[in-house]
């Protein structure tokens, strides 16, 4: 019995030492997209949770792994016509996991310390390079009709007078946003698969590149 207690204590001590040496970092971020339309400003926001875990033991090439929980930002630009700011973007499939690190950590020695320092300082504007991929649907009920939206030319997708006014990020304590499936009724049906329903992806069609995880991750 005593040997078992020593063994368990040793395991816990090793685990504690590991966690001290390689701490996991986690935060929540509120992404807000504001669009100017002829009818006035339209805004959408989404709180996402980001967790970065060091990967010093299982050498699969990545020094850290990121896990995201949350969903895309949805802005109803016109009745029934939505703009979505996805979880993916120019920085790769884990774009929204990188944004805070790249924005706040750009001039800091420690990304995570910089994110901590951003606490309580309100929203910070995202430069174009950090804006997530923007998309809309010709028919919101048909995922195959997804179309990419140029952040510098929303008018091409939504008509004259529509433009991106602001994209911002704020480190927050607010709960993770849910409910995007109410706007995208097919999201549960595709079960994280590619929007066109194919088993494999890669394009060239956008509906064969984007998948359910680009709209929602880590939610049941």
């Amino acid at each position: 019995m005593r040997a078992l207690a020593i063994f368990i204590a040793a395991i816990l001590a090793l685990y504690g030492l590991y966690k001290l040496s390689y701490p996991t970092q986690s935060w929540r971020q509120n992404i807000t997209i504001t669009v100017t339309t002829p009818e006035g400003e339209k805004t959408g926001s989404s709180v996402q949770s980001v967790t970065w875990t060091p990967n010093p033991i299982f050498k699969d090439g990545a020094s850290e792994h990121v896990n995201m929980q949350g969903e895309a930002v949805a802005v109803e630009v016109a009745p029934g016509k939505f703009l979505f700011a996805l979880l993916t973007g120019p920085l790769g499939p884990e774009h929204m996991g990188w944004v805070a690190r790249r924005l706040f950590g750009a001039k800091a020695a420690d990304d995570y310390a910089a994110i901590r320092a951003a606490r309580g300082k309100g929203p910070a504007d995202l430069p174009t390079a950090l804006i997530p991929m923007l998309v809309t649907f010709k028919d919101i009920n048909d995922p195959k009709t997804v179309e990419r939206v140029d952040p510098n030319n929303l008018a091409a997708a939504f008509g004259q007078g529509v433009r991106l006014a602001r994209a911002s990020i704020e480190i927050t304590n607010d709960p993770v946003t849910t409910g995007i499936e109410k706007k995208l009724p097919w999201l549960g049906r595709i079960k994280g698969g590619y929007l066109d329903g194919q088993f494999a992806g890669g394009g060239p069609e956008l509906s064969n590149i984007l998948h359910g995880g680009n709209f929602r991750q880590g939610m049941k």
């Binding site: 966690k19 390689y22 701490p23 996991t24 970092q25 986690s26 935060w27 929540r28 967790t51 875990t53 060091p54 990967n55 010093p56 033991i57 299982f58 699969d60 090439g61 990545a62 020094s63 792994h65 990121v66 896990n67 993916t88 973007g89 120019p90 920085l91 790769g92 499939p93 884990e94 995570y112 994110i115 901590r116 606490r119 480190i171 927050t172 304590n173 079960k191 994280g192 698969g193 590619y194 088993f199 494999a200 992806g201 890669g202 394009g203 060239p204 590149i209 998948h211 359910g212 995880g213 680009n214 991750q217």
Partner: protein, 103 residues
């Protein structure tokens, strides 16, 4: 210099770790888009959607654009051959409960 087929296959086997989600090396957005060229192979398709991520799986299929290797270096992979490279990543170290909550 002609590359042997075994070396080429080894390169493709490692390449799967550097494309799609959780990549070890940042090759940019859409690094596994169909048509992307890697030496004498082009990417056909990939499997890195949320369904695959939930299973810790990623795969990429290539098609060779010309013959790879020589008889003297272990054989030849003919042009137009499909090669599939895949990885399974069990993220044992992920422990959100013990995360240092910045918030």
């Amino acid at each position: 210099m002609t590359i042997s087929k075994d070396l080429f296959l080894a390169l493709l086997s490692m390449d799967a770790y550097n494309r799609g989600y959780g990549a070890g090396v940042d090759l940019g957005q859409n690094s596994d888009k169909s048509g992307t060229l890697l030496g004498s192979a082009t990417i056909l398709k990939s499997k890195g959607d949320q369904e695959a991520q939930d299973a810790g799986f990623y795969a990429v299929a290539y098609k060779t654009t010309k013959d790879i290797g020589t008889k003297d270096t272990g054989g030849i992979i003919p042009a137009e051959t499909t090669i599939i490279s895949y990885r399974g990543t069990d993220n044992f170290t992920n422990d959100p409960i013990a995360a240092e909550q910045i918030f």
